[in-house]
């Protein structure tokens, strides 16, 4: 964009003509109007950086800038090590300092909420699920930046897109998915007389019955307040039987339906008959990993971390490496949906280094760098852009294929309504998970659904 010195130089030239006058006034008008337009498109930082970002190009980092990224501790430590390596590489190449601060998954939200409330903190925050909708007032509009990435990397996965986009604007950059599929013990499976892994929810119950009849360890899924594993299990069960918590416009609670009743009855039958473990009502996210690695369960729904620890982590001894396999999500009578843990990157409004933050995110998303990170995470993560989905690791290890497979059927809590503060509220209150948990222990399907309906109505229909 022309700056004011170009214009004054131009005007200083003599030999004026009508054509030159029109050119000069046009240039002035363009200069005056271009700033706000670029700013509206997210091109200008307005946060202390002096340069205005040109449309269609990745912002340049400011030499000497210091930025911090807050993210979770991945269940695959090698993935975090690779991010830190790339941060150091980026820092050296651009004379900036990028710090990666990691916290446990369940501490990420309190940390984020504190920063948002205080209006200061990390420059970039890794946003889980629908947080951009919860913290919309604190996230910079990244629409222009994401459009540049889209032009380079292809279309965005629908779930990342729905979480990142708030009111038509991208308040976060799509970053990754943590696909959840089933890890299971092939030896126990064989001992129970089972051949193929279950492909329907009814087959899951049958497999659980077979395991129980041979006194083998059970299939186990969290019915507790696990922000990942419980949610990724019980929302798909609801959806696959046709149940929905709210209408697609997000205004009318629709949980009380015969489809939900069918889903809940399936859960009650499976639980009461001990086809799934009875011990999972308080399980948090690490508990099923621990149970699997201790040889106490046969199958569980999880990210690839269980498989990775068994097969790729030499320090843990490959205890069940030879007898561990993975499988995709089963389907129900009304479809096959899945729910995966989602992460996106938001650049926070308080940052003084928005351009450097964007440049760093763009650096992480470069196909070479991103693929290195995907390979380091050994299939635990999947890319959100079209060109980032095919990591080498998924081709070299066919057992990881199910984790790629569940990405395509991914949905978000509250679906088919678009993500919103209300869908996030329903998710963090574990309304759907608790409905299944309550039904499983009480055996009262209608009572559990009525309880969930009452809670959902407070959230969706009569918020304070």
């Amino acid at each position: 964009m022309a700056d004011i010195r170009d214009i004054t130089d131009y005007l200083a030239k003599d030999d004026w003509s009508r054509r030159r006058f029109l050119q000069a006034t046009g240039l002035v008008a363009a200069t005056i109007t271009a700033g706000p337009i670029l700013e509206a498109c997210g091109g200008s930082t307005g946060n202390g950086t002096s340069t205005t970002t040109a449309v269609g190009t990745i912002p340049k980092p400011r030499a000497g800038a210091k930025i911090q990224l807050l993210q979770w501790n991945s269940f695959v430590p090698a993935a975090d090590a690779e991010i830190k390596r790339q941060a150091a590489e980026f820092s050296t190449a651009n004379n900036v300092t990028v710090t990666i601060q990691t916290v446990s998954g369940d501490q990420l939200q309190p940390k984020t909420a504190s920063a948002v409330e205080a209006g200061s903190g990390p420059d970039i925050i890794q946003m889980q699920y629908g947080w951009p909708h919860l913290y919309d007032t604190a996230c910079l509009d990244l629409t222009e930046f994401v459009n540049i990435l889209k032009a380079q990397l292809g279309t965005v996965n629908a779930v990342n897109d729905a979480f990142c986009k708030v009111g038509g604007k991208y308040l976060a950059t799509p970053y990754c998915q943590v696909p959840n599929a089933w890890s299971f013990r092939t030896d126990y499976w064989g001992q129970a007389g089972l051949t193929d892994f279950f492909t329907t929810w009814d087959e899951l119950a049958s497999a659980g019955k077979a395991l129980k009849s041979k006194s083998l360890p059970p299939i186990a899924v969290s019915l507790g307040h696990a922000y990942g594993d419980a949610i990724t299990m019980w929302y798909p069960v609801l959806w696959d039987f046709g149940g929905r918590e709210v209408s697609s416009d997000g205004k009318k609670v629709t949980i009380n339906s015969k489809e939900t009743l069918a889903a809940v009855n399936w859960a009650i039958d499976t639980f009461k008959n001990q086809y799934i473990s009875q011990n999972t009502l308080s399980w948090l996210d690490p508990d099923n990993n621990q149970a699997y690695h201790s040889g106490l369960i046969t199958a569980t729904l999880n990210g690839a971390s269980i498989y990775i620890k068994e097969v790729y982590t030499t320090a843990t001894g490959h205890k069940y490496a030879a007898v561990t396999n993975n499988a995709g999500m089963p389907k129900g009578p009304k479809g096959l949906e899945s729910l995966n843990l989602i992460f996106n990157h938001a650049v926070m409004k308080w940052t003084q280094e928005a351009d450097t933050a964007k440049a760093f995110i763009a650096y992480l998303m470069q196909p070479d760098n991103y693929t290195k990170w995907l390979n380091a995470s050994v299939g635990y993560n999947a890319g959100p852009f079209q060109k980032l989905t095919n990591a080498d690791i998924f081709n070299t290890d066919p057992k990881l294929k199910p984790f790629v497979g569940v990405v395509a059927t991914g949905k978000w809590p509250g679906w088919p309504a678009q993500p919103s503060k209300a869908t996030s509220q329903s998710q963090v209150q574990f309304v759907i998970v608790d409905m299944f948990a309550k039904a499983c222990t009480s055996g009262d399907a209608k009572g559990a659904i009525a309880d969930a309906e009452q809670k959902l109505k407070r959230i969706y229909e009569t918020p304070v």
Partner: protein, 306 residues
């Protein structure tokens, strides 16, 4: 008056403004100022801000505006809030009784002379010293029905059935109480022990000469002499247990299905994770009037006896 002071007076440096410091009351208030400022900054401001938040529709990142008692009204129809309220009262009442009884017993035992007395006293403080997150995680592992060492011992040595400690609504709340009691006993015990050691031994000697039994000595000497410290410990413990967050959050995080939610965890769920900070503040402040009455009653009672 020394020559130096006379010199100061002559130069006008020790007029009435300086001499005011010679008077006890103004000096006392003056010395209190730094403390009052610190209290105002670190206690009064957050507290008043919390009250303000509870009467606004603030969300994380949005200050909101005044809504009066709407948040309190809204929570009245929330079944989880009602459950959390009941759980908080039960949790505090039951654990306080057990901590008081067992803490007193612990103090009486520790007050005896026995070998390795100092080591035992220090060791019994461990539950209080260990960071509560760590000890609660250890308890979580012990209670987990899949890995439970408690169940393993019960099954293999006592031939008792396994208990799904954290998996049913009744046992999960009991588990919370067990861990809180375990953690709280040393605080009571050591505080009572300090009190016991201030009781003059002459009183017991005189009682023995008069033929008093052990129980009579306990009722007529120990308890009355221990009363001030007992009341203060009880008060502090009650307040801390009402507001206990770490333990319920780490042990059950409200599961199964919110049955172990207490007000602090539910406020966190709604206010921090859900973003409705105004409602969260209202939930956490709902016990304030009740606690105020308890505290005022106890303090007034303590003062009147003194």
């Amino acid at each position: 008056m020394g020559a130096a002071v006379r010199g100061l007076e002559a130069r006008g440096l020790m007029g009435p403004r300086v001499r005011i410091l010679d008077r006890e009351a103004p000096l006392g208030y003056l010395l209190l100022v730094p403390l009052l400022l610190l209290l105002g900054l670190f206690l009064a401001y957050p507290f008043l801000f919390g009250i303000w938040l509870s009467v606004t529709n603030a969300q994380i990142g949005d200050n909101g505006h005044f809504v009066g008692a709407a948040n309190y009204q809204y929570e009245r129809s929330d079944t989880v809030f009602i459950q959390s309220f009941a759980n908080t009262i039960t949790y505090t009442a039951v654990t306080t009784v057990f901590k008081l009884g067992l803490g007193l017993l612990m103090a009486l035992l520790l007050n005896q002379v026995f070998p390795a007395q100092r080591f035992v006293r220090a060791a019994l403080l461990l539950p209080w010293i260990i960071p509560s997150v760590l000890s609660t995680l250890a308890w979580r592992w012990m209670f987990d029905p899949t890995f439970s060492v408690v169940n393993w011992v019960a099954l293999h040595y006592l031939h008792l059935p396994s208990v799904n400690w954290l998996g049913t609504t009744s046992t999960a709340l009991v588990s919370l109480m067990i861990v809180n009691t375990w953690r709280g006993i040393p605080f009571y015990g050591i505080s009572f022990l300090a009190g016991l050691q201030t009781i003059p031994t002459e009183l017991y000697e005189a009682a023995r000469v008069d033929g008093a039994t052990r129980f009579q000595q306990f009722r007529q000497i120990t308890l009355p002499m221990l009363r001030p410290i007992l009341v203060v410990v009880l008060l502090l413990s009650t307040i801390l247990t009402f507001g206990d967050f770490t333990l319920p959050y780490v042990l059950t995080n409200c599961a199964p299905y919110n049955s172990t939610c207490v007000l602090s965890t539910w406020a966190f769920q709604i206010g921090v994770n859900g973003g409705y900070i105004g409602i969260g503040a209202a939930i956490s402040l709902v016990l304030f009037p009740l606690l105020s009455i308890i505290v005022a009653g106890v303090l007034i009672g303590l003062r009147s006896r003194d």
